[in-house]
Structure formats: structure tokens, C-alpha cells
Symmetry: C2
């Protein structure tokens, strides 16, 4: 009888933003897998570090952090094969996922390879959206607002269309696209409605107006745009609180 | 010295989807406030029930569940006044928020009234987006996907525009709008790409294809549309796993 594959969201960064369910599953895990960049430590593993049993088998999935290389098919195929070996002999496997497993996460690549042959359970987590809104103290959306979530990696035309059509916008994966995206937002007259957040909920979190953002942004950074047409929001324009 | 107002996301419904931080704050709370409908119990309170101290002072904010009446200004003004009384004498107040405090929550109405005069901390929670994606086993967004979050309460034209412009769509607050929205999705040829989820993570959760959805939907229901242009997703079309 197969073990179960758990795709476990570990939240945006602060270890105490793990859910009770995630914490319990990780603490009882015998096999733990997680994505890791080819340089530096795995954020997902760092977030969950205190809960990972010392004697657990760890499977790092080392993926190049360059968008151009996604999906790193071989990495996920090899990891899926190793994970499948554990599942087949009846051992559960916990996969740690930054934020939420199904929100821009790499877990879907394992899911696609393993869900036909093994039981899979998804444990949703706190996503970067809520974490960034909390960091900058902006209600994301209210009442009849439309929100768009847009990768900042897209070309200007796509960004402009997406920003234009929504009341609130989350631009994900800002990173090296910051100068271009900031210029675009300025041409749209939305700089005063825009905030910049990096490493939300971590000790080196940055949350400020877009005009105060640094010149370079890490991969885990976001721009939020709130057009503020809701009168309740406009009572408290950005950064007044 | 003022107490702190905590806006605490309690997640979508399952009590063990509270974060460790939310659980800790609620367990040590002396004053707990939460929204409640004018008929029936408060979902936010039900989710957190096990963690609420028996001797805590409880402040239910009884709000009519009819969209037409939002925002129920008097309810929030009265609650803000009562909460402010506790904060002013140095007592912290924990406000329970379904899902995430700043994602279509009513916490923003308290925030607008109290953030200028008292310290406020926001504790992000698992939102219905991640919970619904997990329930129906669909990756929401991958790589360069654009996602739109759209209240189903909007008129057809606005829904059509929003759906058209995104790779993935979450239609919120479906409720009594289900027949109209379902007909619209059918005219757009997207029924096969659409799933219906109600009461995600609760024991009476429903997650099925839109064509299998019941005729009436509760307030806490969502339609997800995944256009599936991502080849990794299309390896596993909806409902095959």
C-alpha cells in the first residue's frame, strides 16, 4: 500500500506562519523533500527547519533560479523517481513548498508526475499575497474589487493591460525587472498607489512606497498597486497608518 | 500605553489550518472580536473555537450578510468604539478574520477606524484561494500565468472582460449568482476548464467540475477557471488525478 505524498505550504518565511497541520506533518515526517537554489540555502527548508526531525531523510531538489530554465524537467523527474521509491514501500513523503503549494510553486511538477500513481494531499499555506499586504498594511481587495496577479517577468504591454483592468494588482517575482516595471507604473500615473515589499515576514523584510524602493530587488519581492477607489480604503491612503 | 489590535487570519475553515502564530495569539487573548451573520453562528469563531480562552471577553460584530448593505458602518463603528476602550486601558484585542485579514475581509473596516490611534498587527492567514485550489487539486498559477480574482457579484460584461484577460480566474462569492455565472462561462466555451468549490476544508466541502455543481451555492463558494495553456498542467487536465 502506497504512502501519501503531502504537498505542504510552509508560508512566506516566518516559521510561526506554518499552519498547525503543516507543523504536525513535518514533525512526523520520515522523508522530506524541498526545492533549493543552485546557490545558497533552501528557503522552504529554512522556514520549516525547527520542525524537521533530525533523522528524516532529506531530498533537496536543486533547481536553477533562472526563469529561462524553468521547468527544470530533469530535476523534477529525478526527484519524483526518488520520492516514488519511498511511496511505493509505504512511506509518506512531505514536500515543503514556499507559500502555498499551488500558487506559483514548483510542487505542481511533482504533482503532475506522481498524482496518477500515488495518493496526494495538498496542505494550503499562507501565500506571499497575504504576507505582503500585511507587511505594507494595505487591504488587498474589498467588496467588488477585481485583483490581478501578474508576473513582473511579462513584457510591458501585458503588464499595462493587466494593471489597467484591475482595482488591485500584485506584481510577482519583481527581482531584476524592478527598474522597467517602476518606469511603466510611473507612465501609468500609479506610483503614488504602489508599494514595494521584499522578503515579507522575514527579519530583513522591506515594505515601503515604490518611490522609496531600492534600486535592486531580490527574487522574492512584490509590487502591490491599490487604486484606492474604495472610499473606505481612501480614508487611509497608503502609508498613513 | 495602548494595547495592540491584532487582525488574525484563521484560514478557510479547518481549525488546523490556523497558523502557529494565530493559535498562540488567540490562546493568550483576553478580548476576542469576530464577524457574525445576523442568522447563524460565526464561521471565524467556529474555526478558532478550541483556542479561545473560556474567560475571554467576546465581541461579536453582527453584520447583515446581504451585499447591498455593506459596509454596515454602524456595526463597525460600534465595535471599533468597544475595542478602542479595551486598547486604551492597555489590553490587546484579537480580531478573528476568516481566511486572510486583508483579502475581502471585514477587518479593514476596523483597521480604518483604529490604525491611526492604536498599534495594529496583521497576521496573514491561509486564504480561500489556496484552500479551493487544494480542494479541487488544481495548480492555480504557474510560471508566467496571470490570475484574476473577480467577485461573481459583478455584471456579465465585467466578468467576461476579467475572465478573458487571465490564464486562471477565481470567481469569489458565487452564492446566488451561480446560474448566471455558469451560463456566462458556457457561452465563453470554458465550462470544461471550470471547477466549483464550496466550504473548502470543512467537513461538508464540495469540489467538482462546474457541470456537476449543484443548482444552488452557499455564500462561501468559488468557481476556478484554469485555461490550461501550460503544458505541465495539461498533462493532468482537471479531475484526472
Amino acid at each position: 500500500m502506497s504512502g501519501t505524498l503531502y504537498g505542504v505550504g510552509v508560508g512566506p518565511g516566518a516559521p510561526d506562519l506554518l499552519t498547525l497541520r503543516a507543523d504536525r506533518l513535518i514533525r512526523s515526517a520520515r522523508v522530506v523533500a524541498y526545492p533549493a537554489p543552485d546557490t545558497g540555502p533552501s528557503l522552504a527548508r529554512q522556514i520549516a527547519a525547527d520542525a524537521i526531525p533530525k533523522d528524516a531523510i532529506e531530498i533537496p531538489m536543486i533547481v536553477p533560479m533562472r526563469t529561462e530554465r524553468f521547468p527544470a524537467q530533469d530535476v523534477y523527474s529525478n526527484a519524483a523517481s526518488e520520492i516514488s521509491g519511498h511511496l511505493t514501500v509505504g512511506t509518506d513523503v512531505v514536500v515543503l513548498c514556499e507559500g502555498d503549494p499551488f500558487f506559483f510553486g514548483s510542487f505542481m511538477y511533482l504533482f503532475a508526475r506522481l498524482a496518477d500513481s500515488h495518493p496526494v494531499e495538498i496542505v494550503p499555506g499562507v501565500s506571499s499575497l497575504g504576507a505582503c499586504a500585511a507587511a505594507i498594511r494595505w487591504p488587498l481587495v474589498a467588496r467588488n474589487d477585481v485583483m490581478s496577479v501578474i508576473p513582473a517577468t511579462l513584457p510591458d504591454d501585458a503588464l499595462r493591460t493587466g494593471i489597467h483592468g484591475a482595482d488591485a494588482v500584485a506584481l510577482m517575482k519583481v527581482g531584476r525587472h524592478l527598474p522597467r516595471v517602476r518606469a511603466l507604473i510611473e507612465t501609468m500615473g500609479l506610483t503614488q498607489h504602489s508599494g514595494y515589499i521584499a522578503r515579507a515576514t522575514l527579519s530583513n523584510e522591506v515594505a515601503c512606497s515604490l518611490s522609496d524602493a531600492p534600486d535592486t530587488a531580490p527574487y522574492f519581492s512584490m509590487i502591490l498597486i491599490s487604486k484606492g477607489e474604495d472610499p473606505w480604503l481612501s480614508q487611509h491612503p497608503p502609508f498613513s497608518a
